[in-house]
């Protein structure tokens, strides 16, 4: 457990930010899987940042890094990461597809990078929040743990009300439903302020580079470690 507590507190110096997390929440199913020492199944859902576009190699993509980060602080455990991008499509169709993927893979934890496409497509904020809420309820009803990752920070859209509205809607839903959230938008904004966008976007100024993915994986790994510790803390009185 020592390595887990360290993972929950430490970030590499390149990725240090003031805040990158939403509310505290327990990852009960993941904790149980670890306790039973069975293979831990993770499902990464999202758009191009999940697929790993912009990384120097497939191994540098965030789900692969996340998997190795988790293996780092959970030595001896078998962690199986399945990566399923849900390309572009928004709304009901995407939700049905996510449910089908979950039914097929039966993961312990879903890492869901959500919101960018909806924000760009100008999907109504309330409609989006409702979609998010109902899908999270469905995952909760099936006792599947979740970590949400909100949209990336793009300087150009930092003052776009709709874009930031979607980011805020994700925060609000995560708070209401007590779901772990990696506040990527805020973290990347912070990093951009510290060192300028260039370090996190590749040379053509556009795509996130390996460092950006590394930080994203670190934040997600740290959120997961905190979620396991929270489940541990909640479980103690019952023993």
């Amino acid at each position: 457990m020592a390595s887990l507590s360290r993972a929950a507190t430490e970030l590499s110096s390149d990725c240090r930010v003031k805040s990158a997390y939403g509310p505290r929440a327990a990852l009960r199913r993941l904790r149980r899987a670890l306790k039973e020492r069975r293979t831990v199944k993770l499902l990464a859902i999202g758009s191009s940042s999940t697929v790993g576009i912009g990384a120097s190699s497939p191994a540098a993509a965030y789900p692969v890094r996340l998997e190795s980060n988790l293996e780092g602080f959970l030595p001896g455990f078998d962690i199986q990461m399945t990566n399923r991008g849900v390309s572009g499509e928004t709304g009901q169709g995407a939700v049905e597809r996510i449910k089908l993927e979950v039914a097929e893979i039966d993961p312990d934890l879903v890492v869901w990078q959500v919101g960018t496409n909806d924000a760009m497509a100008r999907i109504d904020e309330d409609e989006f929040a409702e979609m998010l809420r109902s899908t999270l309820s469905w995952l909760a009803a099936n006792r599947i743990d979740v970590v949400l990752i909100d949209p990336q920070y793009v300087e150009r859209l930092a003052s776009d009300e709709h874009y930031t509205g979607i980011v805020e809607a994700i925060s609000a839903v995560a708070r209401d439903m007590r779901v772990l959230l990696v506040h990527r938008f805020e973290a990347m904004a912070d990093l951009a302020k510290q060192r300028g966008n260039a370090a996190f976007l590749a040379q053509d100024r556009f795509h996130p580079n390996d460092l950006g993915y590394r930080c994203m994986a670190e934040y997600a790994a740290r959120a997961i470690a905190a979620g396991i510790l929270q489940a541990e803390a909640e479980a103690v009185p019952q023993n």
Binding site: S87, E96, K99, A103, A121, L157, H207
Partner: protein
């Protein structure tokens, strides 16, 4: 030029609905078939493609020589393949220019486009192999595969119709029970429209047309099914409006048989489409005159479905970009839809005009 007919009309309408459905979040999106039925315009489009296959190959009474059918279908497959490459390249260039001019990299990541820009070496191969499809640019690859498969269907149906149906059902059942599909590459995904499933709809459309043109009894039986078809369509509308979609965690194996999955075309979507086809097939006769110019427009779109679909795909993308760059507005959404339909109509008119003017037709020019 064909005169106005039901197949062209419904196909034209399907094209307009596909155009609207491909602009997610648009205000008028609530008007399309998928809001009132378990199936949507894509099923209608593929079923009607099968129906047209019967006409393109001479039909049951005057079948054209088989070698000619094969040549015709392969030529058409090549034409559609070319169209897919062209619209994919145009869409990528369009997204790139918008990303540059707005300084917003998110446009490069839209609809699976990102790997074309960030992993071009592998993605170029994927585009040519049809294993890299942009989001919403995935119907034509299905169509190419279906046309390559169509000669086999025609050959079997000419021998015994049931044999074509049996083969098609066997492939369909195999896909739904084993999750067999066409893979995407370089992304480790699967085709949005699984050809192994969707081929059944083409075959059903083809066989329906063959039977409708050769068997009086079939036509009478279909007419008897109309009340049932209305009832089934009504139930489908209720289920869709109430969002009563089955929960993938709660249905028995093989799950795909019981879900409403679009990629694998779950059976309920086929039933929904057939019910709508039977319920509405005779309606054209009654709405043809009252709709007046709208009938003329829809039939023109349906007659020129490939160029209209291609332009429609690019117009959907344009609509999405315009919406992304502006504040939400009902009026803007209406303007996008009206402009889109007008431009699709212009495309149909232009294609027919060009083929009428001596010396301007594409085939003569080459």
């Amino acid at each position: 030029m064909r005169s106005a007919n039901a197949v062209d009309f419904w196909r034209g309408l399907a094209l307009v609905m596909i155009f609207i459905n491909h602009i997610p979040g648009i205000a008028l999106g609530g008007l399309t078939l998928r809001n009132y039925a378990i199936c949507d315009a894509a099923e209608l489009f593929v079923f009607l493609a099968g129906w047209s296959l019967s006409y393109a190959t001479g039909g049951p009474l005057h079948p054209e020589p088989f070698a000619r059918t094969v040549f015709r279908l392969l030529s058409r497959a090549l034409e559609i393949y070319r169209a897919q490459l062209v619209i994919t390249m145009l869409a990528l260039a369009f997204l790139a220019s918008v990303a540059l001019s707005t300084d917003n990299q998110l446009f490069l990541e839209w609809h699976n486009a990102a790997s074309a820009f960030y992993d071009p070496v592998r993605t170029m191969i994927g585009i040519v192999l049809l294993t890299h499809q942009l989001g919403y640019f995935n119907i034509l690859p299905l169509y190419v595969v279906l046309l390559l498969y169509a000669p086999l269907v025609v050959a079997l149906a000419r021998w015994r119709r049931w044999s074509a149906l049996l083969m098609s059902l066997a492939i369909y059942a195999y896909a739904l029970t084993t999750w067999a599909t066409f893979p995407n590459w370089p992304a480790e995904e699967r085709w949005y429209f699984n050809p192994l499933s969707w081929q059944l709809l083409l075959v059903l459309g083809f066989l329906s047309a063959e039977l409708a043109r050769s068997s009086e009894k079939f036509v009478q039986n279909v007419a008897r099914l109309v009340p049932l078809a209305w009832a089934v369509s009504g139930v489908g509308a209720f289920v869709t409006l109430m969002h009563l979609w089955p929960d993938p965690m709660r249905v028995p194996e093989p799950r795909l048989l019981f879900l409403f999955d679009k990629t694998y075309l779950s059976p309920v979507r086929i039933i929904s489409l057939l019910a709508i086809a039977i319920a509405f097939h005779a309606a054209f006769r009654y709405i043809e005159r009252p709709l007046g110019p709208a009938t003329t427009l829809m039939c023109a779109l349906g007659r020129n479905s490939l160029p209209v679909f291609c332009i429609g795909s690019l117009l959907s993308l344009t609509g999405q970009i315009v919406r992304a760059m502006n504040e939400e507005s009902f009026l803007l959404d209406c303007a996008i839809v009206i402009c889109g339909v007008v431009l699709m109509g212009f495309t149909a008119w232009f294609v027919e005009w060009r083929s009428r003017v001596p010396g301007l037709s594409a085939s003569r020019a080459s």
